[in-house]
Symmetry: C2
Subunit: 229 residues, 2 copies
């Protein structure tokens, strides 16, 4: 009845199952057409169109029009962060009720959290980087150490390639399935890019799951252990 931004407006938007499914599908940062999202949500084109225009109006989505295709994607990291925070809550609640649904083990093992790696392997990576001293505070921000850059260069991540925006290089992000932190920020994003580029894993076409190959996972773990080249 007083101050603060109007939470309920956007929460209500996310609160509809159809829209929530659409947003969830977009959590991998890729863009989808209206038709794809309609199928994702299990509704007709008309209904989907209505939902999408609402999400667009609330700045939760961006739209790119290419020819007769309309591509929708999340408006930004903030949106992904809010969705992830909600998932954390939903997962706890569901834990008691639906017996910790092992619905999609692949998702819990590794998935894209917008632009960086989450799940068991995401948390593992963050822990290793911390204990291994890849990350430290230089001056006034959590950033990559000399050792860290050395290790990152081994998979092709260069200081020059990391965009010099106001975005922090390293950030932590709370993982809904693990309830522990994993690495976000521009470095987190670059690492996920390289995981794909190195062929260690590929995107699932349908979900946010990051599908590591057996060999890829082994090489990823070796990289984290600092062994080998």
């Amino acid at each position: 009845m007083k101050e603060g931004p109007d939470i309920s407006r956007i929460a209500a938007l996310i609160g509809d199952p159809a829209r929530a499914n659409m947003l969830n599908a977009l959590m991998d940062k890729r863009a989808r057409t209206a038709g794809e999202l309609a199928e994702e949500a299990g509704v007709t084109k008309q209904t989907a169109s209505s939902h999408l225009s609402q999400l667009l109006g609330a700045d939760l989505l961006h739209r790119d029009v290419q020819g007769r295709h309309h591509y929708y994607r999340l408006a930004g990291r903030d949106v992904a962060a809010a969705l992830e925070a909600l998932m954390t809550l939903a997962d706890v609640g569901a834990g008691r009720r639906l017996r910790a649904g092992p619905k999609d083990p692949a998702m819990r093992k590794a998935r894209a959290c917008y632009d960086h790696l989450a799940g068991e392997l995401g948390v593992l990576m963050f822990d290793q980087m911390m204990t291994g001293g890849w990350i430290g505070t230089k001056a006034n921000a959590l950033s990559v150490s000399t050792l860290g850059w050395q290790r990152l260069k081994a998979i092709g991540i260069d200081p020059e390639h990391v965009p010099r925006s106001r975005r922090p290089q390293c950030r932590t992000c709370l993982d809904w399935s693990m309830r522990r932190y994993h690495l976000a920020g521009s470095i987190g994003s670059a690492v996920l890019d390289q995981i794909y580029a190195q062929g260690w894993a590929r995107r699932d076409t349908a979900s946010r799951a990051v599908l590591f190959t057996a060999n890829g996972e082994a090489r990823f773990r070796r990289w984290l252990d600092g062994a080998g080249r």
Copy 2:
């Protein structure tokens, strides 16, 4: 249409204006009776009761029954974090629409973000601590430096008094009004406690605003500058 926790359930809960107002009112970590929350939300007792039982059932709230009073409070930090993330989104959207409502300047200057300080002064504090080297990474976690402890002791925060739980000592939290980071974690919580204890500020009885006295703010800023005791 696939995996992941059911976001929409809890988002829908937060999506009702009455419930959102209740949750917002509880963001200062204090508990309120059902009646107080009913007034806060602008609904009758009956309606409030219905809302509260829903929030309770979804584990967003805890209830303490004392005599004939039922005290409700946020279930935990995760809930506060999710609400804060939603506020960030809502504030951006509202920025264009409602011309950055200076509704409550006191809230933007300083407020309690669950258990720690947010707003302009919260962000200022975090920046000062970072640039001043109060905070650094020791071993595997962002923590307080020797200098930092020295400064914290000056206002009565001792390593022994900070609970040794699994909760990180230092965490960052995205500020919805500033869109920058401020200090959370057990240290952030302890500092806010001391801000009250030192008499630098007092809680607003009605909102989350942290009301600094003129003198209190001056002393707080001096403390951050590291000047004098």
